[in-house]
Amino acid sequence: MAPLQAPEVWSADDTSPGEIESALRTLLEEQHASSDAYVPARVLNLVAIVDRDWRGEIVNRLERVGRYHPSRTIVIAVERGRSKLSAWATMSAHGDPEPGSICVCEERVEIEVGPEHVARLATIVDPLVVQDLSTVVWAPHGHNEAVDALLDVADVNLLDSVEAPDPASAIGRAQQLLEAGYVVDLAWLRSTPWRERIAATFDPPAFRGELGTIDEVTVHHRDDSAISAMLLVGWLASRLGWEPGAVVRQNGSMLSRARGRRAEVKLRLEPEARQDVPGLAGITIGTGGGMTVSLDRGPGGLAAKRRLHDGREYSWVVLGASRGEAGILGEGIRQALLRDPTYGPALSAASAMLSSG
């Protein structure tokens, strides 16, 4: 993203939300006066709550989300020992203005707060979000108390269940936030291509009937991404009407059985040591009709294999580029404007796998 030709940065110590909001208005007026090609993006607000010492890493991640940038980003950096607010604000644009065209600007505010501000964070953030736009709250370094303080301001809570210490706490926190509003879970979004391709694999009329006879599912995942595998199995269970039973841990794997409409389904979640990115490594689905379908990460997309009951085997590549972690975060921001009705039921089914035992 190119900076404005004459980038203005406003900053102040011992400041207030009123002063920051006034500075943002002034920045916008000044930029518009310099060229009416500069127009502010008006899509959504993102409030990122971070540790002061690690704010740079988060800012870098946000800068790499490409076109999925928020319109107004408010970074709240929590610093131990701080009692007054310090802030800076700026605008940046996508490229230079061209004749007859527009140049979209995004606004960024960073506010350093102390631990004592966290409980009252809504009184700092609420005056600064652009009204009538969706507000997304993201706390990549934890700070659950800050997220809780912003529940009334947030339309959407962005989280990454993979970052939770274990699947149980990931599911518990996601369910808690889901009760308060909409949740976008990056762990869920990493499974989107897998869900799309599983749906497509069983979509041709010749294979549709096999969906009801699935009797075995094995999911491979990165060691720290068991929650991703649980969400994928939870999705299958909720869409296909299975009742999953409690998981049993065995040699690092999680085993379970689900009661399907016609058959029992064996579920197996296995860590994959060679997987170097968060999320899933592969899935194999077997059906009562003797068909086996597998999808595994491969060059240029997912390596797909279908083995029929008579032993015939077909292999192909389902084309698609990896989005990378920056792409996943960008997708998370984009998804805040949409509504996926299947995450909640998948989460509930995953929760049942942990609690029903």
Binding site: G100, A200, L319, P341
Partner: protein, 514 residues
């Protein structure tokens, strides 16, 4: 006439598609006729790559190129790789690109040779057998229009227009005829082999997000529809202006001209979307039924009426972008004394209950002052003014502007008070710009339209009756112009068009400044 299977609408029955943004598309074999041509290289192959990059192609996908040169599979794969690398809207991911092109096949030969279709049939069958499924087949006719009936006929002779257990579809590029007779003839020949539901007449304008959004703007916002009629709308102007000349396209353009090139298709499509009644659903035929009713409500002019409702002109020398540029007759490849119009303006009336008496002004041209495509809906003025207008720009009627390019968005002109002690007013704009309000980048029109065809959704494609009715309106104008022997009006390159266009405007209206 071919019998075809029912459209593959399976989303209700597959419980896994709920909540997915990208619905499964049936495995497809795409065959591009004219696969080494300019359109394939610049638009089609990059569009296919971008669909692959996003994971939007069908789960299983094959591409077979058909063209004259004997370059073999390897040569075609190399051509595809180079075209995609050069023209894709995003840098190509090497792994995806390699996986996409490695299975591309190529069938060489002329489009009228039987052996081409024999080889094509064999290749398609082999792909089905290798996969153990029946792929849908999609034939993309990216060729000179004279080959459309030839290719359709040969496909029919070989039985490639239908396949057991899968759909066969065909995309036809414009122009869909050069007049009513040729359009009817083309439709007749295509429909002697394919069913109308199999034919997708592509007009890439309809793949633009802003054009599609006209339906959403009108039918998903309660604010507009009450005003969208003769009681409140004073006039409508549709402009498709280009600041460039004909470049290297003299061969095509001189036979076509502005009316055939843009008015008969793109501009009448915009008019239909703007003026149509709400469809009962957004199914392809429900939308197209309503669109074609608008064309039926436009009376085709009698030859003698044409000078009153249509103006043509040709650009002369002038200046564009600060540089001297030649006139049309001096462009490379333009025949001496050519009378092809590079500018066309029309005044049309939509004679139905909603629009009776509202003039629709259309204008298009090359080498105009700026590149812009927009629709301006001018509302009637307020009936009584309580304000003094002295010392201000005064009250202007509200205008709703739907911008298609280069900016995509909607603006509404309002009248506002100028800050100060006096009650002076001036027009201001309330603007919505796509670029500021959405995170998603609009897909290229071809990406959207190719995917729609693979899905079997014909909403954004022209139906045979639409095409023929559009020619019914344009034919008399072309006929009248061909009979005129007076000098063609001219306009300086880089200007807003010919003076003569102002004569079309009635009742105190003016063309919007370019």
């Amino acid at each position: 006439m071919a019998t075809v299977a029912q459209p593959q609408r399976q989303d209700e029955a597959n419980p896994l598609v709920e909540g997915l943004e990208r619905l499964p598309v049936h495995p497809t074999t795409l065959v591009i006729f004219g696969a080494t041509g300019d359109l394939a290289k610049r638009k089609l192959l990059p569009a296919i790559y971008n669909l692959a990059h996003e994971g939007a192609l069908p789960e299983r996908f094959n591409l077979i190129g058909v063209s004259r040169g004997d370059i073999g599979d390897d040569g075609f794969q190399e051509l595809a790789r180079e075209s995609i690398s050069q023209f894709s809207r995003r840098p190509a991911d090497e792994k995806v690109l390699a996986a996409l092109v490695e299975n591309m096949r190529y069938v060489p030969g002329s489009f009228d040779e039987d052996q081409v279709y024999e080889k094509l049939g064999e290749a398609a069958k082999e792909l089905d057998e290798q996969a153990g499924i029946a792929f849908n087949r999609l034939f993309y006719l990216s060729t000179a229009p004279s080959f459309f009936p030839v290719i359709a006929g040969k496909l029919g002779e070989r039985g490639l227009h239908e396949t057991e257990g899968a759909e066969v579809r065909m995309i036809v590029e414009k122009p869909f005829g050069t007049d009513l007779d040729s359009a009817r003839s083309l439709n007749r020949e295509l429909l002697s082999v394919f069913d109308e539901r199999q034919i997708y007449r592509i007009d890439h304008y309809l793949g633009k997000e802003t054009v599609q959004n006209m339906l959403v703007l009108r039918f998903a916002n309660g604010i507009f529809e009450p005003l969208w009629n003769r009681s409140y709308v004073d006039s409508v102007q549709i402009t498709a202006a280009e600041d460039i000349g004909i470049g290297t396209r003299a061969g095509y353009y001189d036979k076509s001209g502005a009316l055939r090139d843009l008015v008969q298709n793109h501009m009448l499509q915009l008019l239909m979307l703007l003026a149509m009644e709400p469809p009962v659903s957004f199914d392809a035929d429900a939308v197209r039924d309503e669109k074609v009713k608008i064309l039926h409500a436009i009376k085709a002019p009698a030859i003698e009426e044409v000078p009153e409702m249509a103006v043509r002109a040709q650009y002369g020398p002038g200046a564009s972008g600060g540089e001297q540029v030649p006139g049309y007759l001096d462009e490379e490849g333009v025949p001496d004394g050519s009378r092809t119009e590079t500018f066309a303006a029309l005044r049309l009336k939509v004679d139905n209950w909603r629009w009776a008496g509202v003039p629709f002004y259309l204008r298009t041209g090359k080498r105009l002052a700026r590149k812009i495509t927009e629709i301006a809906v001018t509302l009637k003025p307020v009936p009584h003014l309580a304000f003094q207008q002295r010392g201000s720009l005064g009250v202007q009627p509200n205008q709703l502007i739907l911008s298609v390019q280069p900016n995509e968005g909607v603006s509404l002109s309002l009248v506002a008070k100028i800050p100060g002690a006096r009650l002076s007013v001036r027009p201001v704009n309330m603007e919505f710009l796509y670029g500021t309000s959405f995170l998603s980048q609009s897909p290229e029109a071809y990406e959207r339209l190719i995917l729609d065809t693979m899905r079997g959704d014909a909403t954004l494609f022209a139906r045979n009756d639409e095409v023929e009715r559009a020619w019914t309106i344009c034919d008399p104008i072309l006929e009248a112009w061909s009979r005129m022997d007076e000098p063609l009006p001219t306009y300086p390159a880089g200007s807003a068009g010919p003076e003569e266009a102002n004569a079309l405007i009635e009742d105190g209206h003016v063309w919007r400044p370019l």
